[in-house]
Every structure is written in C-alpha cells, then in structure tokens.
C-alpha cells in the first residue's frame, strides 16, 4: 500500500506488468485481471483530494464517490451536476468504495462519470505513461488504459472553471434507481445573449464507449434555446447512434426512447443556465 504517488509508480514498474492498481477495488467483481502477482492499493497514496486551483477543480483519482457528494465546491459546480450523476452510481456503501479514478479508467457500458466528463470537457492528468494530460474526448476514444499506457497512473481529473451563464445536467434512465443504466445522458450548455453559446452533449449505455452527440450540438450552437429547437437537436443527436442490443429491452427501444430523454436533459441544463444568468 504505497504512501505516495511516486512509491506507487515505483511498485508498478517493479511489477513488470504483473501488478495491478486499485482505487476502490470494486471493478474486480466484473473483470478480475487474469495474471496478477500483486495489487497496488492507491488509498494511502495521497490522491483523495478535491481542491480549487486557477484552472478549475482538481479531484484526486482515489477520492471515493461518497466524498464527492459532501464537497462544498462540487455541490456548487455547474448547478450541482456532480452530485446528480454520482447518485446514479450503485448504492451508498458502494459509493464509499468506488473511486472517481476507477470509474473513469475502466469504462463499462453502464459507467456514469465518463459520460459526464465528456460533457464537462474534463482533463485527465496521468503520470508514468505516454502523455501527461488528456482531454476527455481523447481519453474515452478507446478504453482509457489503452490511451494512458500500461504503466500510467491517473493522478487527477480537472473540471474546467465554470463560465457565467453555464450549467449542466445528468440523466440516468434505468428500470430501478440502482439498476445499471439503459441510457445515460449528460449535457453542458452556456448561454450568451439568449442564445446557445457552447454545448456538449454526451450519451452512454448505448454504445460500448460513451460518445458526443455532435449532430445535436451543432443543431443548437448559436440558436435561441426554444423547446422546438431543443427537440430538433435531440432528435438529430439520437439519430446518429448505432444502438447496441440490450437483453433487458426490445430491439429498437433505446432508439425510440433516446430523443425524449436527450431533450429532457438538454432542457434541464438550459433551465439551470437561464436561472444562473438571471441571478
């Protein structure tokens, strides 16, 4: 159990591919690595911080999700979207184990935070790998481990500074509150002169990795955020997706449900951004 990030890195190198990092360790339930000789537990490596720096909020990769819910900086961030998405993940005792880094590095189809991080344009700071900083779009292009390199450790995630009149929303659609998502949607929007200045819309649980709905984003940019425009954009976004089969629902179900859910999530973000610009 390394007491610092440097020590963790040394252990990982010494393991020569036989050691595996763990944040919360809950991912092993779904996919235990086949050949492990040792486990490097990051819980004492000083990576559980949440701080405000000039460029945004830095969240240490080993911060358990439960601590994100209690943090006053994160409670205010983008209209409370961090809590909104964290609460869709598993259950209270599991959220005390699952770490923000573990949820981001190993993407399952149901994973929530990767979808949110795409919409928020988060950055990922790694050490010991190919590169130091990744933007969310690059990080989730394939499984992040592949982008980072086998010997890399995710150090922290940076949520960019909030712009005025901007907000975000997260929506998980599932059969029960604690079930895995049928669809996950995250929307970021900033408003200027009553029009959409910037938006990022991400969809999860539809494809193996979460994706940006660029068609929806393009349809909204520069437009007045009316109900009709939002509905058109949501339809365009939903149309660009090749939905994976899911044994819990009929084929075609997700494709039909997606436009309404995307619209609802865009509306939630827009209402929050409008309320912020009035305040």
């Amino acid at each position: 159990m390394p007491a610092s990030l440097d020590a963790a890195r040394r252990h990982l190198k010494a393991g020569n591919g036989g050691y595996v990092l763990i944040g919360g360790g809950t991912g092993f339930t779904f996919s235990a690595p086949k050949y492990i000789r040792g486990i490097i537990d990051l819980s004492k490596a000083g990576l559980d911080y949440i701080t405000n720096a000039g460029d945004g909020i830095h969240i240490g990769a080993a911060a358990p999700l439960g601590t994100l819910l209690k943090n006053p900086l994160l409670k205010k961030y983008c209209g409370g979207v961090i809590g909104e998405s964290v609460l869709t993940i598993a259950t209270t005792p599991l959220r005390n184990l699952i770490t923000v880094g573990g949820n981001a590095v190993q993407v399952f189809i149901w994973s929530s935070l990767p979808v949110l991080f795409l919409a928020l344009d988060a950055q990922f700071v790694t050490i010991g790998g190919r590169r130091r900083i990744f933007k969310a779009d690059e990080f989730f292009k394939s499984q992040p481990r592949r982008q980072m390199g086998e010997e890399a450790i995710l150090k922290e995630i940076i949520l960019p500074r909030q712009k005025p009149s901007s907000a975000a929303a997260f929506l998980k659609f599932s059969k029960t509150e604690t079930d895995f998502a049928l669809l996950n949607i995250a929307v970021y929007v900033s408003i200027a002169r009553n029009k959409c200045h910037e938006t990022r819309i991400a969809l999860g649980a539809a494809t193996p990795l979460p994706i940006r709905l660029t068609a929806a984003e393009e349809a909204l940019k520069g437009e007045v955020l009316t109900e009709d425009n939002i509905a058109l954009a949501a339809g365009a976004g939903a149309d660009m997706v090749n939905y994976l089969k899911d044994m819990r629902v009929l084929d075609g179900y997700k494709k039909q449900a997606a436009p309404a859910l995307i619209r609802r999530c865009i509306q939630m973000a827009v209402e929050r951004a409008k309320a912020k610009s009035k305040a």
Partner: protein
C-alpha cells in the same frame, strides 16, 4: 501477512492472506453477524462500518483496512442492553428472517452518525444498498425514524 485492525473498539493483530476479503476475515474471527448474500456488492448483507461509513465487506480486501476502525453488528448492543436501532427494529416488526438485519442496522447507524435527524428520503437513500426479501421496507424505515427520535431524546 499481519494486519492491525480495530474491530468493535478492540485492537487486533490478524493473520491474513494478501488477497483475502474483509468479510472472510471477519467471519473467521467470529463476527458471524456479517453475512454473505451475493458476494458482488448487490445485496448489502455484508455491510460493516469502516471508519464510521458503511461499505460492502465482500468487495474490500482486508489488507486495505490496516489501522482502520471496523464496526460489525456485534458492537451495537447486547440482549440485555439493546442499541436504540435494535430495539426499534424489534418494536416495529422490521425483522423477519433476519438475514439482512445486521447490514440494515449498520447502514442506518452510518446515516445517524452523519445525520441524526434524517428525513424519510434520507433514510431511503442510505438504505439503497440493503435488500430485504421479507419485510417490504416500510417497517424498516419506520424503525430507523423511531431510533433517530429515541437517540435524539437521550442526547
């Protein structure tokens, strides 16, 4: 390997295998209130408090608990002197087969540690990781409300 665990306010040095789960170590040490249902993080029968917060002991390696404080249901009260949560669960009929009860009690205790006056929704959220196949939850939620009141009166 040896780990130092504080279990129910008693310091113990326990011999464990490196990849052993906390639930297996606790049961081997005689804490049989810790139950195994699903071993996947789904049911909450294995919930214990780690430094005051509920966690699934089936999904945490015992080695990670070095130097940490673990509470199991054995720490709550005795037959002669029940903890207010235990008393409320009995009084409200919130127990049938009892398999989920230790985990329920500890999740509820974790909530009351942080929030002594929880609203009904707070209780539902705090117990979202504990499944009960017998009672239907209504009585459990009532019991937690009752225990919160009882603890409030003794403060």
């Amino acid at each position: 390997m040896i780990v130092n665990l504080n279990i129910n306010n008693q310091e113990r040095q326990v011999e464990i295998k490196p990849a052993e789960r906390l639930i297996d170590v606790l049961r081997r040490e005689g804490f049989f209130s810790v139950k195994e249902g699903c071993r996947k993080g789904n049911c909450g029968a294995c919930v214990v408090l780690l430094d005051g917060s509920p966690v699934n002991s089936c999904l945490i390696f015992a080695a990670r608990c070095e130097g940490r404080r673990i509470e199991t249901a054995e720490s709550l009260g005795s037959t002669e002197n029940l903890h207010p949560l235990q008393k409320a669960f009995l009084d409200e009929g919130a127990i049938q087969c009892g398999y989920c009860t230790p985990g329920m009690l500890l999740s509820a205790k974790g909530l009351l540690n942080e929030n002594p006056h929880p609203a009904e929704d707070d209780i539902k959220k705090a117990l979202d990781g504990n499944l009960c196949r017998c009672t239907g939850y209504v009585k459990i939620i009532k019991a937690v409300q009752k225990a919160a009141e009882a603890i409030g009166k003794t403060r």
